[in-house]
Symmetry: C2
Subunit: 248 residues, 2 copies
């Protein structure tokens, strides 16, 4: 991209005043209807696939470490929370693993969730459940996704009754690897996650809705170059949405 | 750290309401006195030592890439700016290199600054100029730091007259590797950087003042475990201060 000339710079400076309103248009209203704020102490665990993993250093398993939290929304949320809540003993973990689907989470759930006893558990899962199917590497149906995800949550609620669970809506942007073959099945899977949150009265972070609004401000590739993995701008937007909806 | 019990959680939830005021006490007032806002388009370059480097992937030299921006304040600033300014063609680079002192910046300035033609140049340099001296690996004086830094800025102003330069105040926290041997020389070097910004009418981000206020909220180790390298919380605080002072 070329550098801007002086006239463009003046125009850009004028545009600065718009930033707050742009963000307000993209992100959700503050979650005034949330019954209770997230517990602000104890452990916060981010679980999911490559979007959550975000290149984290798997050898760094201690909480609150930038390298161990990766380059994505969990690290942005963690940095801001640790900055804003210095008096609390927050311990923030990322255990997302690239390529994971619901059954992969289930297989490692005891070690990577239950044993950690999070006070807040955030899950973003679903895109590989369809992507790997489209690639011929997996055969799970929408019903498998819905029932497997529900079983995972109900097991968690049984073993960790005091944990607040946050369901992140799976999302794609229509660019890169995401073509017409993804639909309508992707939307059916996405709606299954939304229904799960609704049925079990869990907090839902509406990422798909957020990105749908974001592409009115910049092209899909600006937020997720391959349609699946967010850019830096996309991750920063997700972190802002997560905190806003979660009530922190 | 142990998980909190139910009573502590209630207390913590009550503490949530304090977060905005805690942050307001730590960070600087908005820079209403800044003569002009930062140009919001074109290239933004972060330069410095390990604090800026923050584990960045040196092979990732394209702008706006999380891995190439590292795990520190440049990445946090970049994420938030790219999120908030989707309509602008921002290109954000990190060229901090661990261990660098002023003469190291000077040696690579043509390739790593001038050739990039940034519209905004942010520099944080100084802690290794004293640290390496205390370790017997360097002999530069405070006067060398002041004159070398001034030469670097004046060269930059000559070659890039339209670039807005942001000087970040060098800082240490009194913990970890930072002991009484650092003083008063560290303060003399810090004051040289502040004077340079004042003399040349550059924007100054007062990181030392910010951390001095932050340690009223949590121990020094919470913000920089070894007294030099910020934790995740410290980097997130720096990013917030940088944006606030810079006027973005």
């Amino acid at each position: 991209m070329p550098l801007l000339n002086r006239r463009q710079l003046v125009q850009s400076s004028a545009a600065l005043g718009l930033s707050a309103s742009v963000l307000a248009r993209i992100t959700s209203p503050a979650a005034a209807s949330q019954a209770k704020p997230l517990p602000a102490s104890g452990r916060i665990l981010f679980q999911g696939d490559s979007i959550t993993d975000a290149g984290r250093d798997r050898k760094s398993d201690k909480p609150n470490q930038a390298a161990g939290l990766g380059n994505g929304y969990p690290c942005f949320v963690a940095g801001d929370l640790l900055r804003d809540q210095p008096a609390l003993n927050l311990e923030i973990f990322n255990r997302g693993i690239s390529g994971n689907k619901v059954p992969d989470l289930a297989a490692r759930w005891a070690a990577d969730c239950i044993d950690l006893q999070p006070m807040v558990l955030s899950i973003l899962i679903g895109v590989n459940d369809i992507w790997h199917k489209l690639n011929g590497k997996y055969e799970g149906t929408v019903a498998d996704y819905a029932s497997g995800y529900r079983n995972l949550i109900e097991e968690t609620q049984s073993k960790l009754p005091n944990t607040r669970i946050v369901i992140c809506e799976p999302f794609v942007l229509k660019c890169g690897a995401v073509n017409d073959k993804w639909f309508p099945e992707f939307d059916e899977r996405r709606e299954a996650a939304v229904k799960l949150a609704s049925d079990l009265k869990l907090t839902l972070v509406p990422f798909q809705q957020m990105f749908n609004r974001a592409i009115e401000q910049a092209p899909p590739e600006y937020w997720a170059a391959d349609g699946v993995h967010p850019t830096l701008a996309g991750h920063a937007l997700m972190a802002h949405e997560w905190r806003k909806v979660a009530g922190f």
